[in-house]
């Protein structure tokens, strides 16, 4: 009787725990016939373990045949059922069912799912997003999580190639449709940013990853414009990262002076930058208070590679480097699997090792997101 009351009438707090879903890359600009990976990270709050998931992704809306599903890449889950079905509105639905029979101790609180897709041989754009029917469960029977889905789906443009290059087709592709409403489309008259960034511990093009999600915020002139989802940045051979597509903000940024730009990488603390080409004598020591960046209504290239963005705030990020972050590195030492790399490989060299541990210990002295 007591178990009945506890289980059914007064369910445990675990039923209220959340799993946050995020996309490792929010925007893709790819060539025709190009294969690329879509990373979907499931992160349970409070270190709860994930043992199963039923996820449906929607893409190619309105019968537009822009991308094809290719394969499903290694995840920590042991069983998977994948099916691709067409939905009533002409879109395609990709259903992914994951389950693990591992004991609770071997389960993870973060699960990275990589889905390989291929662009079709035509120009176009589509969105790829998780539907709100997603179900994720923990190892206990009644341990069903509340699933927090990203506000904006992934935007995929085929045929655009290099963002700085002229579009391949005669006219630029139309903006992709969205699965959700609420975001304000950027205005063409606002400032456009191109950033050059350098991250702690990364001195060359990483071997194990092609992109990093970076959140960008611009503050000044009474506005605060931010990217609603992390923007994909790619590294060159010297370890300098630039966005793979124009950065889309939730508000138009009018031309003007006095702006400050805030940037935060996927394993970093947030940095506030007040000039277009900042420098520092020692890594991580640049600080500023008053925004002094001038933005025009054209493309503004801001070279922030003279300073280093400190690592340390690991997923799930909370704006502070603390024992949770150091422990993530320590508990994943020596690991090379996708899940471990996605949460603790700070220098992106393909293994969680003592270098990452040294970086995070050093980051403890910087500790906070700059505001």
């Amino acid at each position: 009787m007591w178990q009945f009351f506890n289980r059914y009438l007064f369910p445990s707090k675990a039923t209220l725990d959340k799993v946050n879903v995020s996309y490792t890359t929010s925007t893709f600009s790819v060539n025709k016939n190009e294969e690329f990976n879509i990373g979907v990270l499931l992160t349970a709050e409070g270190g709860k373990k994930i043992s199963g998931a039923d996820l449906i992704f929607k893409y190619n809306s309105n019968n537009k045949d822009v991308i094809d599903y290719q394969s499903f890449i290694q995840t920590p889950m042991e069983e998977s059922i994948l099916s691709s079905v067409s939905s009533a509105d002409g879109a395609k639905n990709l259903r992914l069912s994951l389950a693990s029979a591992s004991p609770e101790a071997d389960l993870k609180s973060s699960v990275l799912i990589n889905i390989k897709v291929k662009a079709k041989n035509l120009d176009g754009s589509t969105i790829f997003g998780l539907l709100n029917t997603a179900q994720i469960v923990g190892p206990v029977a009644e341990n069903k999580f509340e699933v927090v889905i990203p506000t904006n789906p992934i935007s995929i443009t085929v045929g655009a190639g290099d963002p700085s290059a002229t579009p391949l087709s005669g006219t630029p592709p139309p903006p992709p449709p969205t699965l959700t409403s609420g975001s304000t489309p950027p205005s063409s008259s606002g400032a456009t940013l191109n950033l050059k960034l350098k991250f702690q511990g990364i001195t060359k093009k990483p071997a194990n990853t092609t992109s990093m999600g970076v959140t960008v915020k611009v503050v000044g002139n009474g506005i605060e414009a931010t990217t609603t989802t992390p923007v994909a940045f790619q590294a060159d051979d010297s370890g300098i990262w630039q966005p793979t597509a124009p950065i889309v903000f939730n508000k138009t940024i009018p031309a003007g002076t006095g702006y400050a730009v805030f940037v935060k990488g996927d394993k970093n603390t947030q940095k506030k930058i007040c000039v277009s080409t900042p420098t520092e004598t020692s890594g991580g020591t640049y600080r500023c208070t008053t925004g002094g960046i001038t933005l025009s209504s054209a493309v503004n290239t801001l070279d922030f590679s003279g300073i280093i963005l400190m690592g340390g705030d690991l997923p799930v990020q909370d704006g502070v480097v603390n024992s949770y972050d150091t422990t993530l590195v320590r508990n994943n030492l020596g690991k090379k699997d996708t899940n471990a790399l996605s949460i603790a490989d700070i220098n992106k060299d393909g293994i969680v090792d003592t270098q990452d541990y040294s970086l995070i210990i050093y980051a403890l002295s910087f500790r906070f997101d700059e505001e």
Partner: protein
């Protein structure tokens, strides 16, 4: 018949008295239970440790463990260093890292030193006036488990600056920072926290 009436009345009086006594005892027990429960909820647990007062901050739900402060003395004189230990109970979880946020009156106390009392743990501290953050992380080469039952993990040394009665508090949360334990599965626990009075004469 005439003699039976006083006897009956006497018996009835005894019954009434007995019933009243039972009711009074019952009422007394009820009041005692209510007061005990209220006290237990306020203090967090029934501690026999008089030097430590446990308080819980409602902003964060306590999910496991206890961090409290203990000292061999409560009363100090000026120019005498105050030594306070952080006492940890990890409730059977194997701890690999922790954060402890400590508030103190910077007008009355000056932090001289914070040191780890467990060799396997390295600590990193940030001391702003009146606020100390200590992050402890287990050394990479340490392999033994750290399940703590009333284990002293940090020793704090303060220097008195003025006389009076003051409190040193472990607090659950300041801004984005939290007092927390992290175990060998990277699971985070929010512990009950405590404070200790310090009297400087």
């Amino acid at each position: 018949m005439e003699n039976q009436t006083p006897v009956t009345n006497n018996k009835q009086d005894h019954y009434r008295l007995l019933i009243i006594i039972v009711i009074l005892i019952f009422a007394g027990l009820l009041i005692f239970l209510i007061l005990s429960r209220a006290k237990s909820q306020k203090t967090g647990f029934n501690s026999q440790e008089t030097k430590v007062t446990i308080t819980s901050t409602p902003a964060l739900q306590v999910t496991g463990g206890v961090l409290s402060l203990v000292s061999t003395k409560q009363s100090y004189i000026m120019n005498e260093n105050i030594s306070v230990d952080v006492l940890a109970n990890s409730q059977n979880f194997d701890i690999v890292g922790y954060d402890v946020l400590i508030n103190y009156d910077s007008q009355a106390l000056e932090l001289i030193q914070a040191e780890s009392l467990i060799n396997e743990f390295q600590i990193f501290k940030i001391n702003d006036p009146g606020k100390l953050t200590v992050t402890g992380t287990k050394n990479l080469v340490a392999n033994t488990s750290n399940i703590w039952t009333d284990r002293k993990i940090i020793q704090l040394t303060f220097k008195p600056k003025k006389t009076g009665k003051f409190y040193i508090n472990i607090t659950n949360q300041i801004g984005k920072e939290k007092t927390q334990f992290v175990d060998s599965y990277s699971k985070v626990f929010i512990p009950q926290v405590g404070k200790i009075p310090v009297e400087i004469n």
